[in-house]
């Protein structure tokens, strides 16, 4: 902001200086003229100097006008207003001068000379006023012509200006009433070039219907006024005489501009008229194009992020007629504590390497977008302070626009478009792209949300399937045994877990009972748990002892599972006939044996499965034989039971578990299990268990 204010002041100062210089030059010229009138001698070099001063006077006026005119005027009707006021003022001045009929001059030898000071003053003033008016007309019309300029526009206009200048300057040494064939050929050339430039009416196309009506009225009015202007410049008119006296080049300049203006506004009238019937349709089309159509194009694509961002990029080119466009999306690095990173997700007609140069961090463009969240338009890519450093390495860009994509006022990305010409993005384009970017932001944000929820949904569904599968692996019908009762319960911490229990009928009188715990939790544990199930089902029936099974299971697992993974397992074979239990343990929690009001913890030596190779594992593994009396209870469990914590962080522990068993030893296994779970939940204060937890209870009937 500060910069633009100082810039403003600077232009104002330079404008004032230009005007002051022009004023001083005018006075000098007037002084020379006054002296020359009295002395009637050939000044020679001074005359040349005087003529140069006249030209410089108008250069000064031009520089001043440039500073007071709107910089990037896009409203054609405002330009019309400026021309309208200028020509009306001019004609009013002319009328006043006509009323004070001036005839203090004589024509001597091809030279008009004023005979009194008043006439000299009027001549001078009339000349400066008409010259100034002509400059204003030319400047303003050039703005109209440059609206939506194409490649050739500027070139054509410069040809016209060159011819205009050449024609004017070719009269430099002519006497006021002399004629020159060369000058007239150049005069005609300039007029033809003017006509050639009078076909640029891009501004009309973008007017609304109402504005087009205004344009027709204005054009017609201006056309008529400029005809009057031309009449006032006619051969014998006062103005023409003044100009011829004051400066022949100026007279040429004013007349060519006058003719050019008539032609331009005549054409403008006709073109506006022709555009009127289609105005309404065009209006509607424009709205359609910028909103409904593009929006619907976007909405259908929210299910495919890649497709969506490419469409956004392509449509940006379409709506703004840009040469290239690209789109950067902000990615939040979760790990990096809120740092953001831009990812180029789509680009068209430009290389990613070039984009890197343009939006890399050393240019202010991206930073500016992040800070202000406003649209940035770079009109002159080569000269703009934000881009001039990189202009040498990036070709084919004249102007550039960066539009921040906002979702709930949060920057989610930046959309860029570039054109080869300078001043390629006018207010119309900017508004169009901004509207479009708003829609794009919504679509992109929706697409992201959809993508996320689909992923989550899919994951959730997969887990539900896994949970179902795992339940099938665990919950089987508990076999009915003569003289014994069995109950088993397992609850995973998450959807799936690493706990395992199984009961296998090994023979007529032999039952295999296994409880295991895979290291870790969740999905990876569940995989090994499934593998364990396979191993148990495959090997248990062929093994005569509990150690034999554990050795085989360890052989199967060691080296085939991850180094960091292992399984603890306790395996018992119940002989129903003689009520004995063969028990082996591979790193698992001990079995609790309740007998005659007393409790024994059975913990035969054994290393967890998958921890070590056969040599050590086989060497240390033990088997115990336990006789199970009437009313005896055997409890198998996983560490989820003993490691359940209360709010203070203390573990439930083996002692409490034993206490619960002793206190409830009269219950059947199912009731006892419920009692244990109740004790755990009342201890932890939670409804569920936050670790995988398994309890298997075997009880021998009393009778």
């Amino acid at each position: 902001m500060k910069l633009s204010i100082t810039q403003n002041i600077m232009t104002k100062i330079s404008g004032a200086v230009s005007l002051a210089v022009a004023g001083v030059l005018f006075l000098i010229v007037f002084f020379i003229d006054a002296v020359q009138k009295n002395l009637e001698i050939d000044f020679g070099l001074i005359v040349q100097l005087r003529n140069l001063f006249v030209v410089l006077t108008f250069v000064g006026i031009y520089l001043f006008i440039r500073t007071i005119m709107p910089k990037r005027s896009v409203q054609a009707l405002r330009l019309f207003g400026i021309i309208f006021i200028t020509i009306l003022s001019f004609l009013a001045v002319f009328l006043i001068l006509r009323l004070i009929s001036i005839d203090g001059y004589e024509a001597v030898e091809m030279q008009i000379t004023p005979t009194d000071y008043l006439t000299l003053l009027f001549f001078s003033l009339a000349s400066v006023i008409s010259g100034t008016a002509a400059i204003i007309f030319l400047y303003t019309i050039s703005q109209l012509i440059f609206f939506k300029r194409r490649k050739g526009t500027q070139r054509n206009f410069i040809i016209f200006l060159v011819l205009l200048g050449a024609a004017s300057l070719s009269t430099w040494n002519l006497q006021s009433l002399e004629k020159s064939t060369l000058s007239y050929i150049l005069f005609m050339g300039a007029v033809i070039a003017g006509i050639a430039n009078s076909f640029k009416f891009s501004w009309i196309v973008y007017l609304s219907k109402r504005e087009k009506m205004f344009s027709i009225g204005y054009s017609l009015l201006l056309f008529i006024l400029f005809i009057i202007f031309n009449v006032t410049l006619s051969e014998n008119g006062f103005i023409n005489k003044s100009l011829l006296y004051y400066s022949y080049p100026l007279q040429f300049f004013v007349r060519i501009v006058a003719i050019f203006s008539v032609i331009y506004f005549g054409m403008s009238f006709v073109v506006s008229l022709f555009h009127l019937p289609t105005a309404e349709a065009f209006d509607r089309k424009r709205i359609e194009l910028s909103s409904v159509q593009n929006l619907s194009k976007l909405i259908t694509r929210v299910f495919d992020f890649k497709d969506l961002v490419q469409t956004v990029t392509n449509l940006t080119i379409e709506v703004s007629e840009a040469r290239s466009a690209w789109l950067e999306i902000i990615r939040h690095d979760d790990a990096g504590g809120g740092t953001i990173r831009f990812e180029l997700v789509a680009h068209k007609n430009i290389m990613p390497a070039e984009i890197d140069l343009i939006t890399g961090d050393d240019t202010g463009l991206r930073r500016y977008s992040i800070e202000t969240k406003k649209v940035v338009v770079v009109d002159e890519f080569i000269r703009d302070r934000r881009t001039r450093n990189i202009a040498q390495s990036v070709r084919n860009i004249g102007s550039l626009i960066c539009v921040p994509l906002l979702s709930q006022n949060e920057l989610i990305g930046i959309l860029y478009a570039a054109k080869t010409i300078e001043y390629g993005f006018d207010e119309e384009d900017t508004a169009l792209i901004s509207t479009f970017a708003d829609n794009a932001s919504i679509a992109i944000e929706n697409s992201r949300l959809i993508e996320q929820s689909i992923k989550r949904e899919r994951l959730q569904q997969e887990l539900m399937v896994a949970q179902k599968v795992q339940k099938k692996l665990l919950s089987q019908t508990i076999p009915k045994l003569a003289g014994f009762e069995l109950d088993a319960f397992s609850s995973p911490a998450f959807e799936v877990g690493g706990d395992y229990y199984d009961i296998a009928i090994l023979g007529e009188k032999r039952i295999g009972i296994v409880v295991g715990d895979v290291s870790g939790k969740g999905v990876s544990a569940a995989f090994y748990m499934a593998e364990l199930k396979g191993i148990f089902q495959a090997l248990s029936k062929s093994c005569t002892s509990t150690t034999e099974f554990l050795i085989k299971a360890n052989n199967a697992l060691f080296g085939s599972i991850e180094k960091s993974a292992f399984i603890s397992l306790i395996y018992a074979i119940l002989n129903i006939e003689n009520a004995t239990l063969g028990l082996s343990r591979a790193g698992h929690c001990p079995m609790i044996h309740f007998q005659n009001g007393k409790v024994n913890l059975h913990k035969p030596t054994g290393i967890g499965l998958g921890l070590t190779g056969a040599s050590l594992f086989n060497e240390v593994i033990e088997e115990e034989s336990i006789s199970v009396g009437p009313g005896d209870i055997c409890v198998f469990y996983t560490d989820g039971v003993t490691e359940a914590r209360n709010p203070e962080g203390e573990e439930f522990g083996t002692e409490r578990l034993i206490g619960t068993i002793v206190n409830n030893s009269h219950l059947n296994p199912q009731e006892l299990r419920k009692a244990i779970l109740d004790d755990i939940t009342s201890y932890t204060g939670l409804d569920s268990f936050d670790d995988d937890l398994t309890i298997l209870i075997l009880k021998r009937n009393i009778a």
Binding site: D517, V518, S519, G520, K521, E562, K563, S564, A565, F566, S568, A586, G587, H588, C589, P590, K603, T605, G606, I607, G608, L611, T612, L616, V620, D639, G649
Partner: protein, 119 residues
């Protein structure tokens, strides 16, 4: 619950890990990283001082299993010291005392390494 701190001390030529807090599935990656870092720098003699370790889960034990084989191949080892009864119980259940040397005191563990080196 997730409070877990690792301090590494250099007691030439041994590196002593002082573990503090809860070593479970959430905090295990931290320990894993420390191990990997040390091994990458060519250190193979490690003593884990467990005096302030309040809890260790199966995932925590898995970290030692993941590295010990590698270390032993390079003539190194992991030895444990200063375990509380509770933590020792977990080690003991799984049969870890059969797989690792566990010492009452850190000094003993370090000396075991240095003696072995001198012999």
């Amino acid at each position: 619950m997730t409070d877990f701190v690792i301090k590494v001390r250099n007691v030439e030529p041994v590196h002593v890990f002082e573990l503090k807090g809860y070593l479970d599935a959430h905090t295990a990656p931290k320990l894993e990283e420390t191990f990997q870092d040390l091994i990458d720098k060519g250190n193979h003699l490690i003593v884990v001082n467990c005096s302030n370790l309040s809890y260790i889960s199966s995932a925590g034990l898995g970290v030692f299993m993941a590295f010990v084989e590698d270390l032993r191949e390079k003539q190194g080892d992991i030895k444990f010291s200063n375990m509380t009864d509770k933590v020792f119980n977990v080690f003991d259940l799984l049969g870890f005392p059969l797989l690792y040397e566990i010492f009452k005191d850190e000094k003993e563990a370090v000396e075991k390494f240095t003696n072995a080196k001198n012999n």
